[in-house]
């Protein structure tokens, strides 16, 4: 199943129409501290005077705003096409019913095409209708938010509970941030858990991805999966070990990282300062800037700045691709 990707797909993945570097934060599974890393890195970049876009692409459970303690603003609906049927025009040919791969269209009685199931807005029905009986309505599948606090702008999307369109929301949130890309020094993207297409969608254009994990059997297992996904797309990556002081199996995580030639970018200990920031809804970098935990994030930003934010390295990177 792990087939080779077409080089064009990899090129397309890395191609962005702007030069602002994108750094992704991901992890094979939820609960390993991805969002904690993301908000603290954002806070650390801001502390160093950078203009930061933080994209929360975990649209099923977006929590970055809570961790930052900033309420979401500027809600905007994310809509998709939804067909509207005009029975006066309909000739009852039922081509639309056949064309819908989602099996969402039914014809209960003569000239009464009804949308019953889920519709992904693909427009197949609209395209095949020979009678012009279908018009393009729109339907909201979620909400997009853009919240500004000083040098930090948070882009968040929230899926309407129960819908399947998370991919559309992920793209919408990314696009919103990308449209403003020139306003920022760096774009940080916090992805959903897992190794599915939404994670890839969220990481589009990422120069570097931090894979957050923890030293447990689950952590090393999920890390292996996410690292092989990043490998498929030839994405630069490194590993962040969260709760590094858990009585677990750090060696296994280190082995997985080494096997994928990913460096260990940082080890974050489970400590009360970090937890306090978490519960209080303030990144530890802001709450206790002199704490050991804050120190780690500030160091990570130094490294990322040196590698990705200096003009010299940028051109080098582009030449490589």
């Amino acid at each position: 199943m792990n087939k080779r990707l077409h080089p064009e797909i990899i090129r397309h993945f890395h191609n962005t129409p702007f030069s602002t570097p994108i750094i992704g934060i991901t992890g094979g599974k939820g609960g390993v501290g991805k969002s904690t890393v993301a908000v603290n890195l954002a806070a650390a970049f801001v502390a160093q005077g950078k203009r930061v876009a933080l994209v929360d692409a975990d649209v099923d459970a977006p929590n970055d705003s809570l961790l930052l303690g900033i309420p979401l603003e500027n809600p905007q609906p994310v809509t998709i096409m939804q067909p509207i049927f005009d029975s006066a025009q309909c000739t009852d040919c039922q081509k639309c019913v056949k064309a819908c791969q989602m099996n969402s269209l039914f014809r209960p009685k003569e000239k009464s095409i009804t949308l019953m199931g889920e519709c992904n807005g693909c427009e197949a029905c609209y395209l095949v209708c020979p009678a012009g009986a279908i018009s393009q309505g729109s339907h909201s599948v979620g909400t997009l938010y853009k919240t500004k606090r000083g040098k930090l702008t948070l882009y968040t999307g929230a899926l309407q509970p129960g819908l399947a369109e998370s991919a559309l929301i992920v793209n919408a949130v990314g696009d919103a941030a990308f449209a403003d890309a020139e306003l920022f020094d760096i774009i940080l993207v916090d992805t959903a858990p897992g190794t599915h297409c939404n994670v890839i969608g969220a990481l589009k254009g990422a120069r570097h991805v931090l894979a957050v994990t923890e030293p447990t059997p689950l952590g090393s297992h999920d890390l292996e999966l996410i690292l092989s996904l990043l490998d498929m797309f030839s994405i630069q990556r490194s590993v962040v070990i969260n709760r590094a002081n858990l009585p677990g199996q750090k060696e296994k995580v280190e082995q997985a990282a080494q096997a994928a030639s990913a460096a260990i970018a940082a080890e974050i200990k489970l400590d009360k300062d970090l937890l306090a920031g978490y519960l209080e809804g303030t990144p530890v970098v802001d709450l206790l800037p002199n704490s050991a935990a804050a120190e780690i994030f500030l160091k990570m930003t130094d490294y990322l700045t040196a590698t990705y934010l200096s003009p010299h390295n940028q051109t080098q990177q582009e030449q490589q691709l």
């Binding site: 064009e8 793209n171 297409c197």
Partner: protein, 294 residues
């Protein structure tokens, strides 16, 4: 046979560990027979928590993808602009980004050369695991693949079949994270939903979102507060919210350093340290779950 599904709105609150511990306690002394379904197809790891290895797997085709026949293609690029999901790219010739293709078939509708067709493709696996007397049916989505909802559907169907063939009393489902399509697939047909949370503001927000989904399907539900002693104030906020929304609190499990130690050894806390505070709390919860089975 009853069906109970364990959900959390987001991963990392200890759902799989709790599922495994409950399964162990319920089947102890042969009291109940049960089948487990691991529907976290993006990161299935119930088998790791149980310390069991996969013993059999089959490929699953739960996804349709467009495929181009380049011998027929005239490079007109009609398909590139027609795809509503931006899943066809290319400058010289069209290339389908299969991981984001929804299989909707619009590209084949607009192709003047009949060069594109939509085919079912293998996008995951179903793994079968045995741990003691418990059978686990686990779905695993291929890396970078889509359509986890349909895969979850298949896993549930398989698990249900497995459970009824072997005369089980209970099908216990470890749900996927989130609130989207896979969660709904996991929830379908359930008699009861156990919602796992922990005392933090983020976890409460996740709990609220998942509750909305569960109540939308009118499935009775109760909550479990894991690591309940982590923050007394947040714990109280969660309890109050539960009361206000008429969700029973089925149990509270304190944070317990023994748990990660057991996990690191590929064993269950309730088995290795039966008298640890978390084990005692899970045993209490297990009585409540038994009540649901009566």
């Amino acid at each position: 046979m009853k069906e109970i599904v364990i959900l959390s709105g987001k991963g990392g609150v200890g759902k799989s560990s709790l599922t495994a511990a409950l399964a162990h306690l319920l089947t102890e002394n042969g009291k109940y027979r049960l089948t487990l379904a691991d529907t976290d197809v993006d990161a299935p790891n119930l088998h790791i928590v149980l310390g069991a290895e996969f013993d059999r797997s089959t490929g699953v085709t739960a996804s349709n993808k467009a495929i181009i026949d380049y011998d027929k293609c005239s490079r007109c690029m009609n398909c590139v602009s027609a795809c509503a999901f931006d899943s066809i790219i290319g400058t010289e010739e069209p290339v389908i980004i299969s991981y984001s293709c929804e299989g909707c078939g619009v590209c084949s509708l607009v192709c003047p050369e009949e060069a594109v067709s939509v085919h079912p493709v293998e996008n995951g696996q179903i793994n079968f695991v045995t741990s003691g007397t418990v059978r686990v049916v686990a779905g695993a989505l291929g890396i970078g693949e889509s359509s986890s909802g349909r895969l979850v559907d298949i896993v549930k169907r398989q698990a249900r079949q497995e459970a009824s063939l072997s005369g089980c009393d209970l099908l216990l489902t470890d749900g996927p994270p989130g609130i989207g399509c896979p969660v709904i697939a996991a929830l379908k047909g359930a008699d009861y939903a156990i919602l796992v949370s922990e005392p933090t503001p983020s976890a409460l927000s996740d709990l609220q979102r998942i509750t909305e989904v569960v109540q939308g399907f009118k499935i009775p539900a109760g909550a479990v507060l894991n690591r309940s002693d982590m923050d007394p104030q947040s714990a109280q906020t969660t309890r109050d919210w539960l009361t206000g929304n008429e969700l029973p609190l089925l149990g509270e499990i304190p944070y317990d350093p023994y748990l990660p130690q057991a996990l690191a050894r590929g064993n269950l806390g309730v088995k290795m340290y039966p008298d640890a505070p978390s084990s005692l709390a899970i045993k209490k919860l297990h009585k409540v779950v038994e009540g649901l089975l009566e």
